[in-house]
Symmetry: C2
Subunit: 215 residues, 2 copies
Amino acid sequence: MTAARKRAPSARSLETRKRILDAAEKVFSRHGFDGASLREIATLADVPVGLVHHHGGSKEALFAETVRRHAGLLAEIRMRDLKALKEKGPLTLEAIMDCFFRAYQKLVNEEGDQWLDYGRLVAHVSADARWRDLAAECFDPTTQHFMEAILSLYPKATSELAATGQIFSVAAMLAFFNANWRLETLSPGASPPDMNHLVRFSAAGMKALLQAKPA
Amino acid sequence: MTAARKRAPSARSLETRKRILDAAEKVFSRHGFDGASLREIATLADVPVGLVHHHGGSKEALFAETVRRHAGLLAEIRMRDLKALKEKGPLTLEAIMDCFFRAYQKLVNEEGDQWLDYGRLVAHVSADARWRDLAAECFDPTTQHFMEAILSLYPKATSELAATGQIFSVAAMLAFFNANWRLETLSPGASPPDMNHLVRFSAAGMKALLQAKPA
DNA sequence: GTCTATAATGAGATAGAC
DNA sequence: GTCTATCTCATTATAGAC
């Protein structure tokens, strides 16, 4: 065993820690890793900068911890819903993709808008090769399960095509969380984006990839 | 008239300026605005840091100029190809979307891989609300033309849906330029992404949005 | 136009008192 | 655990010689 186990942290400490991670989630999700500063996080959390280091370690470690904190719950919901879907059967592509995306909306409805921040945070992780390992650790296992479920519907399709479709779909999802501002300029007065649109778009795109005739 | 016009810059000056903008394109496209440093740009361009300021002004101005430099050519090609497509007729959704995406590939084939960098740069502009005005200036006019062409095929669809589909499609395109690394982890040994996949995915997704029955 | 030197700011990280 | 003060470094930006 590696040295002595740390004592259980006090309630106060846990609360401070939560405040710091909440603030980090907000700031990182809005400005990205490079654009965020520990000082802004400390200010938002209303703690001295030193405490951010104490709880989060380096900036990179804090970022990773912020991403990891909620990844488990997201994965859990997705896997649970996918399982329920399989048991209910029969599976459809639309239902699988809906299940993948809808997890965020459920969390927003149940726990609040901080999950929108988390969605944007995931966007940054997925968009930058620097977080390759973190993304693989937090999201790939779930993604693989969904890809397998999708491939079970299209036995002739390659996993390469399913992965491509998955990447395009996740990209669209990230745009969904970020694109209010762009929608406004392209189509003034448009109502905020609807998750059903995202599901319909991605499912149709995925289907087009997987059904394609080999040349 | 506002003061005297500047003299025509020397050939040497123009060449230095090009080197700086080329370097800026590379560095900004790889690290984003916040992650990039003027020093790295200067080093890559093999000029002293001071010169970067002289030619580019502030970091923000340099970024905007880098984006603007090639936006015109991209827009021109897209508009020319769209016009040719219309004259050839009849229009199809796939052909329109192909025309929109293929411009990058044509440029890569004709002028080289720096256009892959430019594609990534566009990604950063499109993903961050901070560049709202820059994106509107450089890309929205072309995008609007393509949206109109698409809507002409689906007279009953709303411009809001077309804009949503356009945003999702551009997001997928940006993933296409960035996602080699993710494809590798999701489907090891996969060949590099194929632009035909992008076209098929986006066209099918767009069609699904525009054909949807009103509730 | 070019280049060097330097100013001015803000960053992440740390040491040590409480 | 908490907080203050400080260190060290890298950044953008500018002033001025050539």
